[in-house]
């Protein structure tokens, strides 16, 4: 089975981030990685939510999301339910790439993978993530646990490749921490942390280089946590200096993070010297790491909070015989790695895998093969036959490391509470996985179970003795629930906003604010979104501006910009998006939003430029392609606009209805190039909805009547009866008034007509086609008619109402140009009365169906034209 051409080396650099790497490469300080990039391809690697490393690396290994592979956190319950322990391979419920390769006769080496203990009996060698975990105390023994290495016969041979923290010397320290002599080691554990991390990764590297050199293999995967753990320990000291960081500590540790990258590159250099050009090499990370103004100095107190500093994009580099050269690749996700590896070994991909083959990286891509699932195949896959027990005592140091990193709180001494909390954490993580996949119903089910469960409370006796300090450090007090439900409410709040369930969102927000605040929760974004959903746009803006004044940041500027867009305040929106970009220039969504704004400001060239930057940053971004299409269309470049719209349409997981309509419009324009300015196309559109709109008292009811008599069915519930103001009836439909909350009834309006007043037009669902007949009337006449209707003096006209109505008309005009699914004609009420025949001809031609024009004309009653000027 072994084929030289398949040979693949996969190197994992946890948390490696291009933001640190590129400057180092340009200074010549990462020559090995630079060489690999020039030989191959590179790009971003998109992480998943929640960004917890054992979950992510298990997704890399299986091609599946955590709800499928079963690794749901940093710790797991022990099989005998007698405690908790760092997560092991026992938690994984599906086959990893090395299991499949074993079954197919390939040989794999696996070193340091998180999690991989206990070692699976595969064809090859497994050095698990237990290998490098040694005790810091030189007087303590470090026996190798059973299951650390497979085959066990290699234990003696590899045992001495473990490095111990006490072996670290100043020769290792000073290049990374030149001022190490100034460290107050009584109070500052920095050097101990440095020594432990470096020793562990040296152990992994020593085992990896040994196996690469001395064994025959087809696939080798090595995992290093050097960069990630250095970042957790020292990123706060990385330049530029954060205000709250003491100067002397900044001067001591400011080179630590960069030194991790350089050491990793040196290790890569050595590894590359051990393989030949027929071997494909992949270097990747599972997420990035914040190194700018978003670094967190005071970590909030909820589980795995340090993952807040993980950035969305990690790195991906690949080079090999069939890999393209010196090219950037896009759209890669962690779940794509296993399918891509399978494809490289000419093996089928399971249809139950969530990832796809990254065909873009290959010089000569071939068509992937598929099977239903590797899980249902019989045979030997090198897996454990049963759950392997481990010794709890040996877990303590490993647990302590997770505690020191801040990934977990110290487990409660009460085993029952520790188990309960772990169960809740794992369940919550599963909920967050569903939330990340936008499977809101599954996420909600889990979260509601979590908040509705009853939990014991901490008693006075719990705060006695040694436990007191630990509990208080974690922010607990007497009477608190042992399980913190605040994170569950936070996720429920996110879901309810995403689903536009505003009442629920308000409830969850008030619950969050009521519950004891043991940590800072920024709820202003949620508050603003709720206000926007309730139509209280100006209040939402005030909330965001207060947040911006308190702590300006990119995201709050972006949200402010979005609100200005909704208010049609495009200059202010432009300023806000530009401010967002000043903070973070490489955010695709900021460029896309600015591009969309510039289109409104008729600055089409700059709009196109920003849309292109957005696509450059995130290639598979349907909205950015759509915005580019809009800009190009306005610039008259119809052919390329069509390509952009088609790209947007093909990228969206569900139909991109706007892009579809835009493509149809472009096709019409390309056929009738002289008609470029005509918003209305005088033909029937399949399943169209005819909308009669206008300001109140502008003649909408008479137009509804004309359509009704003409043969177009009217969608009405006839709740509002005819009266003196409208003797022939209103033809209204009550659900229209709450269209901003619920517009699902629109499917009933297809091939019918329905009245929708002007301010509500923007809530029409773009997935339908609309023929809008907009009734226009002199504003003075409109206001006069309204004053009379409500029993006020028709000669006294409130000027504020004029301004409001002018704004509405402008908004409709902007909206109609922007929405490809909308065609609109203006019909003057005066013309309906005085030139009915022309109006009827225009309307019937616009609607595009056969209508009874004579009956339509009979609807016009000149005696009802009152309040005319």
């Amino acid at each position: 089975m072994s084929n030289k051409k398949n040979k693949t080396l996969l190197i994992g650099w946890d948390a490696a981030d291009w933001e640190i790497i590129w400057p180092l490469i340009s200074k010549g300080e990462m020559p090995a990685l630079k060489k690999l990039i020039s030989r191959g391809v590179y790009g971003n690697m998109s992480t998943m939510n929640p960004p917890y490393s054992p979950m992510l690396w298990s997704s890399v290994a299986t091609g599946k999301t955590p709800d499928k592979h079963g690794v749901l956190g940093f710790i797991e319950l022990m099989p005998d339910m007698k405690g908790v322990r760092p997560v092991t391979a026992n938690s994984r419920k599906v086959k990893a790439i090395w299991n499949i390769l074993h079954n197919q006769g390939f040989k794999s080496n696996l070193i340091g993978w998180w999690p991989s203990f206990p070692a699976e009996p595969i064809n090859g060698v497994v050095v698990t993530d237990k290998f490098q975990k040694v005790k810091a105390d030189p007087d303590k023994k470090n026996p190798m646990l059973k299951g650390t290495i497979h085959p066990e016969s290699l234990t003696q041979e590899l045992e001495d490749l473990r490095m111990f923290p006490y072996e670290i010397t100043k020769a290792h320290i000073l290049p990374c921490i030149p001022k190490a002599a100034e460290i107050d080691q009584e109070n500052d554990k920095g050097l101990r942390t440095f020594a432990r991390i470096l020793a562990e990764n040296t152990s992994v590297h020593a085992a990896a280089t040994n196996l690469i050199r001395t064994t025959k293999w087809d696939f080798t995967a090595v995992y290093y946590d050097l960069i990630d753990h250095f970042c957790h320990a020292f990123m706060k000291f990385h330049p530029p200096k954060l205000n709250a960081v003491p100067q002397h500590l900044f001067e001591i540790y400011n080179q630590a993070v960069v030194s991790a990258y350089k050491i990793q590159d040196m290790m890569l250099e050595r590894t590359m010297s051990l393989i030949d050009d027929d071997t494909t090499v992949i270097v990747m990370s599972d997420h990035g790491y914040e190194s700018g103004y978003k670094r967190i100095l005071k970590m909030p107190k909820y589980p795995a909070a340090p993952a807040l500093e993980h950035r969305q994009f990690g790195i991906f580099v690949a080079a090999g015989p069939n890999i393209k050269q010196n090219e950037k690749v896009f759209g890669l996700s962690l779940i794509d790695v296993a399918p891509t590896l399978l494809h490289m070994f000419d093996l089928p991909i399971g249809k139950d895998m969530d990832g796809k083959v990254a065909l873009d990286i290959f010089k000569e891509p071939t068509k992937p093969k598929y099977i239903d699932s590797w899980e249902t195949l019989e045979g030997d896959f090198g897996q454990h036959k049963e759950v392997v027990e481990t010794d709890q005592l040996n877990e303590q140091e490993a647990l302590q490391q997770l505690i020191d990193l801040g990934y977990i709180d110290k487990p409660d001494e009460d085993i029952g509470i520790a188990i309960l909390k772990t169960k809740c954490d794992l369940k919550h993580n599963l909920g967050r996985v569903y939330l990340g996949k936008k499977d809101f119903e599954k996420a909600k089910k889990i979260l509601l179970e979590l908040i509705n469960d009853t939990y014991p409370k901490y008693q006075k006796s719990d705060f006695e003795g040694e436990k007191k300090e630990e509990l208080e450090k974690q922010g607990y007090k007497e009477g608190d629930s042992v399980v913190d439900i605040i994170p569950y409410y936070m996720d429920l709040l996110s879901i309810s906003i995403a689903q536009n369930e505003i009442e629920n969102a308000e409830h969850y927000l008030s619950q969050l604010r009521r519950l004891d605040k043991r940590f800072d929760i920024n709820t202003y974004f949620s508050e603003a979104k709720i206000l926007v959903a309730k139509g209280k746009i100006h209040q939402a803006l005030k909330v965001l501006q207060a947040a911006k004044n308190n702590k300006p940041n990119a995201e709050v500027w972006y949200q402010i910009g979005k609100i200005h867009m909704q208010l049609f305040q495009f200059e202010k929106a432009k300023e806000a998006f530009e401010n967002a970009l000043n903070f973070e220039v490489d955010r695709a969504k900021f460029h896309q939003a600015l591009a969309a704004t510039l289109i409104h400001l008729k600055d089409y060239e700059n709009a196109a430029e920003h849309a292109l930057i957005s696509i450059e940053l995130v290639k598979y971004y349907p909205e950015a392609h759509y915005t580019l299409g809009e800009a190009l269309e306005k610039l008259g470049d119809l052919e390329n606009a069509k390509i952009a719209y088609e790209t947007a349409n093909s990228l969206k997981p569900v139909k991109h209805v706007k892009a579809e309509k835009a493509i149809e419009n472009i096709d019409d324009k390309l056929v009738n190039k002289t008609n470029l300015k005509d918003k209305a196309v005088y033909k029937y559109r399949k399943d169209q909805i005819v909308i009669v709109s206008g300001l109140p008292r502008s003649g909408t009811s008479v137009m509804m009547q004309m359509l009704n008599k003409g043969g177009v069915e009217v969608l009405t519930d006839a709740n509002r009866k005819a009266d003196a103001s409208n003797p022939k009836g209103y033809f209204e439909y009550d659900p229209v008034m709450s269209i901003h909350k619920d517009n699902k009834w629109l499917d009933l309006a297809q091939n019918k007509s329905v009245k929708v007043v002007a301010p509500l037009l923007k809530f029409l669902d773009p997935k339908y086609r609309y023929k809008v007949i907009f009734m226009s009337r002199d504003l003075n006449e409109i206001v006069k008619s309204q004053q009379k209707m409500i029993g006020k003096d028709p000669e006294t006209l409130p000027t504020r109402l004029f301004e409001t109505y002018k704004k509405h008309l402008h908004q409709v005009d902007v909206w109609k140009d922007k929405e490809p699914s909308v065609e609109l004609i203006y019909v003057d009420y005066k013309d309906v009365i005085n030139d009915s025949k022309t109006v009827v001809d225009k309307v019937t031609s616009f609607v595009g169906v056969d209508m009874n024009k004579d009956e339509m004309l009979k609807c016009v009653d000149k005696s009802l034209y009152r309040n005319k000027l």
């Binding site: 300080e29 020769a171 290792h172 040296t202 050491i263």
Partner: protein
Amino acid sequence: MFCCFTSHPEKGNVQQVINYCFVKQITLLKMTNKNKILTNNQSYTITIEGSLGLLAYGDIGLRAWREVKNNNNINKIDNHVK
């Protein structure tokens, strides 16, 4: 390019020079304030303190360094015994 393998343990000498025989070109990056690339065909002195380059070299570097440290300890014991 390769260097000769010789081992010269000297009694009472706390440093040993070990030259390794390699079949491929070696590049060791010595971590000082400036990255220094040593050209091939040079011997590299392994000190008791070791270096990041040795750790980056993997199993061979780690074992070579430990051998130097162990030999130094043997020498110390021998000297003590004397």
